[in-house]
Symmetry: C2
């Protein structure tokens, strides 16, 4: 099942989306918005699925998606927890920052708590802010959770994953080092995060989703040119591992979003999902980074295609404005 949110009020208005991503139909009579659906998922899901199948089969004609303005599936969420589950990304960006990776690099996930009160839609322009901040994107995969108890183990985690989405974790790269040096983690260096048009149930992904990882390539384009298409299945810590880590000392409420961190492969030919990695590679190869951070007018596209060639989550498609 594919879900999306029409821009409406604070929480959007719930839509079902056809598998090809071309048509939508309102589902707000079943649950007014996605958060309400997640709050009551076991009782709401069967009816949502019936509506989705009616739309997908053509029984319900629906409306062309081009006529609808979409917000993020969750325009505000109770938590946005972002992991950094791709070891290659950590190694590259820490090397570029001149900081040693943590000793627990391979045994304990890195995660940070992000801001979740104002989340951006898939086509929202992003203001560059101060040019000295060094705006960068980070193409990621994420899951939306149901109510998840404290102390959930990785082996028990699968049923808590309700939905998957893509994210662009906008980052002011030049603010990261001074902020992390203060010791309390990211804050001003992480502005609002943007999400894909569609949130998709795990069953839609078939065999590509297994063991808490999604084995598909994540494509990132900058101004139309392919920058990277790494396999998201190369996650060192699976979403189940991340979930076990973050519930060690507290429970998570329905609608919590948990991110993979920047998707990154050890194989250089797979490219990058953020400019920081490209710059790190330049630094390692040539002693200096030459690719600049983003400028006004730059255009980012993030998408993931399944083995049938479908754009599973729809595209994040954003421009940098002044």
């Amino acid at each position: 099942m594919k879900l999306a949110s029409r821009r409406h009020g604070r929480d959007g208005s719930l839509l079902v989306v056809s598998r090809d991503g071309l048509r939508v139909a309102s589902a707000s009579h079943i649950a007014p918005h996605l958060q309400a659906a997640l709050d009551d998922w076991p009782s709401v899901e069967p009816e949502l699925r019936r509506r989705f199948e009616a739309l997908d089969s053509g029984l319900l004609p629906g409306q062309p998606i081009a006529e609808v303005e979409l917000s993020a599936p969750l325009p505000r969420a109770y938590e946005w927890i972002d992991g950094s589950a791709f070891i290659n990304h950590i190694l590259l960006v820490r090397r570029a920052r001149g900081v040693e990776p943590p000793q627990t690099l391979r045994s304990e996930p890195l995660v940070y708590q992000g801001g979740s009160g104002c989340l951006l839609g898939p086509r929202e322009d992003f203001s560059l802010g101060d040019a000295g901040f060094g705006l960068d994107f980070e193409a990621e995969l994420c899951v939306v959770l149901g109510d998840t108890p404290r102390g959930t183990r990785a082996a028990e985690a699968a049923p808590y994953v309700r939905l998957l989405m893509l994210a662009n974790d906008w980052t002011f790269r030049n603010l990261v080092s001074p902020e992390l040096a203060k010791g309390f983690g990211f804050f001003v260096s992480k502005p609002a995060t943007a999400f894909s048009p569609f949130a998709v149930t795990p069953d839609e992904l078939g065999e590509a989703y297994r063991d808490g990882r999604l084995h598909l390539q994540l494509q990132t384009r900058l101004n139309g040119a392919l920058l990277g298409d790494p396999d998201a299945g190369e996650m060192h810590f699976s979403f189940f591992d991340l979930l076990a880590h973050v519930t060690q000392t507290r429970a998570l409420t329905a609608g919590t979003i948990l991110g993979s961190g920047t998707v990154s492969n050890a194989e250089p030919a797979r490219g990058v999902s953020c400019l920081a990695e490209l710059r790190a590679r330049e630094l390692i190869a040539n002693g200096c980074a030459t690719t600049p951070f983003l400028s006004v007018g730059d255009h980012i596209e993030i998408a993931m295609y399944d083995h049938a060639g479908r754009n599973v989550f729809g595209s994040i498609d954003e421009r940098v404005t002044a």
Copy 2:
């Protein structure tokens, strides 16, 4: 005006509370819960104030508060951002951890993004977890914000403060050092935070609330003995300063909670608002810390009295369980 939430569903049911804190009346016909009231504050506030004044004057009899089970005013919130605005606290706990305070100690606030999906009520017992985690409390003051734009300056911040509350920022002290060493800030070391029974509009505090600081003493008792009563007015960064810092690169949604960090005075006679400070003082004076962290059965009370002797926010009153 004083507001509270009766335990009910995911968001509680909105109550008005008499100034003496003894009686409550439902206000859920005006807004079902506090988040809904904050979402629509300008239009809802006048009617809530009329209901509050009717209750406080006795025109509306209300119900004894003892008959009602309260949750946190916001049992789930879109963001919980905690500052560390009392320099004395930073100096003491960093000295105890053997870590230098940041160079920007007095010019730039320390803040971290906390988990906000599951917040605890004022009388919820807290599970000790692993005894080796070193459970500690942190008595704090916090504000609840309305919609606050990106780039709000401190001088413009006052109107965005809707409500004030107290918080107990439970901390697993022995998990802090290894977690911060990883570089991404707090996560498992900060379990769910507890809040005072009442959320109070700034006008209720009269002259004691000025320049974004509340000039009243915050009392913390451990097993009945007064541990500290520091003046919360000694905040180095005011709530307005904190708000300006945290909106530098993003907007905040209505219902965002912003905390002061552990209330702490330079004058040792004012005591402490967490055990980490007491242990830091022991370490500095005697070379070793002798006060243990919390054990099963320990009882924490946090309250703030105004100049008329009223318990403004009601008491946080919690026991540690196995």
